[in-house]
């Protein structure tokens, strides 16, 4: 098959099983498909970075209790200081980032415990 001689390796070049509506097809998965992230139910206690950036302020300590709306962290990204605030009344269970550290998108920053 000419496909297998493509100049760029995009296919895994292996046939695999692929199920749609109860029918199992023999077909080649794309790299994108294979590398897709599986969805997980979001845990509201875990605060992730919504954008890559630098932690320029940590306003809380582990074990401290905070009220909804309290400032937790300042994440500087795209020349803006993004205030990360408490989404609900909670206890700070764990702080997972350090001051002045650069973090990617979707990095776990803080673990809360809802009160």
């Amino acid at each position: 098959m000419e496909f297998l001689h493509s100049k760029i390796l995009v296919m895994t070049e292996e046939f695999d099983k692929f199920e749609i509506d109860g029918v199992v097809y023999k077909t080649m998965p794309t790299k994108k498909w294979k590398e897709r992230k599986n969805w997980e139910k979001p845990n509201p206690n875990n605060l992730y970075s919504h954008i890559p950036g630098t932690i320029v302020g940590i306003d809380v300590k582990e074990g401290q209790t905070v009220k909804k709306g309290d400032l937790l962290i300042i994440l500087q990204a795209m020349k803006m200081d993004n205030k990360i605030i408490a989404p609900f009344n909670a206890k700070i269970k764990k702080i997972c980032v350090e001051l002045n550290s650069q973090i990617p998108k979707s990095e776990l920053m803080i673990v809360l415990e809802e009160l």
Binding site: M1, E2, F3, S6, K7, I8, V10, M11, F15, F18, I20, D21, G22, V23, V24, Y25, K26, T27, M28, P29, T30, K31, K32, W33, R36, K37, W39, P52, G53, T54, A77, M78, Q102, I103, P104
Partner: protein, 514 residues
């Protein structure tokens, strides 16, 4: 001064400017495996057909010591010439002159040739090789980009616009190619990105090489920004010239006809497709079994390979093919493949190219990732593009046409002009397995041997519904045909629809889901 002296003076002036960025810069350019801007134009166009405009243009910037700098032709070459004897407008940025950076006069030269191309209704080829905006010229260079983007948009759908990326193309510079119809990239030479690796690193802390961020392979496989990938500049130029044989020079003409040729005998149309709908095959072989000389120019070959798009000829006339590819992801429609097909359909429609759709697909790709990426709005692009298109539209259902896929892939209901099905076609709301599980849920559950019963019901459903005859009995399919009749029928359809006329409601423009 005598005339002779005047002429010699002109020649001397020209010669000086033709040095471009000078010996050292040219050597650097060649060392990277790149031709110079002028060489590129000469290779693409017919021999000695190039006529240059604005050779003597100079920049007028005075700040930051620019007043003491001479930039030959301001770093860009523009002009007209011919390809296969037909007129073409072309510009090429000259990386040897100030890194091909775009200043006000540089941009004015480009917009001049763009205006010319649009006015003369001839295709425009833009060769991009530029470090980006000329920072010393400040807002003037930004204005320059804006003027180019505006013209790209105005010319869109009127003349074909081809962008060739033969060097870096960063920041604002990438948006002109993105607005054009076809983007060509060359391995190791082309780089396209909005923000380069350095900015990505300082702002986001992500370390990535230029190649991994926006190299030719990335755009040909992952981002879908590139339509043609080549390993050398020479191969790239051949791709450009080949593409130009398939498309018309402007939107009021048809593509040139060529002498008809039979498909090659090795593509036996009845030997390609397995009748078992779960088994894969390469749909491009079916396309090659119907096209002249089995010639098929595939576009975006390595991006969203679950759909195949490209040009071929039937009895000498250009046809745009859209085909599901069962070889890859069972040929499903997903975000990327819908985007790829939708745009191609709109190109064909704008430039009077009939569209032939080969359908064999189980539906849309399920999954949280797809839904969250917006498979609804992306998938809608296919519906929109097919419904909007007024060129002759022909569909051949080869095998599976399930559910939303049946509707989306140029169905009768989206106003396909001709609907054919092979006897292997299965036209149904969903695959027999899934359908039987739902319709006969009780019977299967209550049966002594549920698995046996399930199998029985699947067969029953397939025989009753998963065939082309139910749809044919309702007139949704015009004919159920033998595979070997396909090519002649396609030819017939194109002949019959030569003067196709469709009235669409008056409007400024529609609002496609992009």
């Amino acid at each position: 001064m005598s005339l002779r002296k005047n002429i010699l003076d002109l020649r001397r002036r020209k010669e000086e400017i033709l040095q471009g960025g000078g010996e050292a810069a040219i050597q650097k350019q060649t060392a990277m495996g790149k031709l110079t801007a002028r060489e590129r134009i000469e290779v693409i166009l017919d021999k000695a057909s190039f006529h240059e405009y604005d050779l003597f243009v100079e920049h007028q910037s005075k700040d930051f010591g620019m007043d003491k700098k001479v930039l030959n032709s301001d770093g860009v070459i523009i002009g007209t010439g011919t390809i296969y004897g037909e007129p073409i407008a072309i510009y090429a940025q000259d990386f040897t002159v100030a890194g091909g950076s775009l200043g006000l006069m540089h941009a004015r030269k480009i917009t001049k040739i763009m205006d010319h191309a649009l006015k003369m209704r001839i295709p425009l080829i833009g060769i991009n090789d530029s470090g980006g905006a000329r920072i010393q010229e400040g807002v003037d260079s930004l204005a320059g980009y804006g003027e180019i983007f505006f013209r790209n948009t105005q010319a869109s759908g009127v003349i074909p616009q081809l962008s060739v990326i033969l060097g870096p193309c960063a920041g604002g510079a990438v948006y002109s190619p993105a607005l054009t119809d076809f983007v060509f990239v060359v391995d190791n030479i082309s780089k396209m990105f909005i923000t380069g690796p350095q900015v990505v690193k300082t702002v986001l802390g992500e370390e990535v090489t230029m190649e991994d961020l926006g190299g030719a392979k990335v755009h040909a496989t992952t981002s879908g920004n590139a339509h043609f990938f080549a390993e050398s500049e020479q191969e790239c130029f051949e791709q450009i010239k080949k593409l130009l044989t398939f498309i018309p020079w402007n939107n009021s003409n048809k593509a040139k006809s060529f002498p008809a040729k039979k498909p090659k005998s090795e593509y036996k149309i009845e030997k390609i497709l397995p009748t078992d709908p779960t088994q894969p095959y390469d749909v491009r072989n079916i396309i090659k079994a119907v096209t002249d000389n089995s010639d098929f120019l595939e576009i975006q070959k390595d991006f969203a390979a679950n759909i195949v798009i490209g040009f071929g000829r039937i009895e000498g006339d250009t046809v745009g093919f859209v085909a599901n590819q069962p070889l890859v992801l069972a040929g499903v429609l997903d975000c990327d493949s819908a985007d790829k097909a939708g745009r191609f359909i709109r190109f064909c429609d704008a430039f009077n190219i009939p569209i032939v759709t080969f359908e064999d697909m189980p539906g849309y790709l399920p999954g949280v990732e797809q839904e969250h990426m917006g498979v609804i709005r992306h998938g809608a692009k296919v519906l929109y593009a097919y419904s909007e298109a007024t060129v002759p539209k022909i569909t051949v259902i080869l095998r599976k046409a399930y559910g939303g896929g049946y509707i989306a892939m140029n169905s009768r209901h989206l106003k396909a002009d001709f609907m054919f099905a092979w006897p292997t076609a299965e036209i149904a709301v969903m695959g027999p397995e899934g359908a039987a599980n739902i319709i006969f849920k009780k019977e299967i559950k209550n049966a002594e041997n549920p698995e046996e019963m399930r199998k029985l019901k699947v067969v029953e459903y397939r025989e009753k519904f998963a065939n082309p005859y139910v749809a044919a009995s309702k007139g949704y399919i015009d004919s159920v045909i033998e595979p070997k009749e396909t090519r002649n029928l396609l030819k017939h359809c194109i002949e019959v629809s030569g003067d196709k006329t469709v009235m669409t409601p008056a409007k400024k423009h529609g609002i496609p889901p992009f």
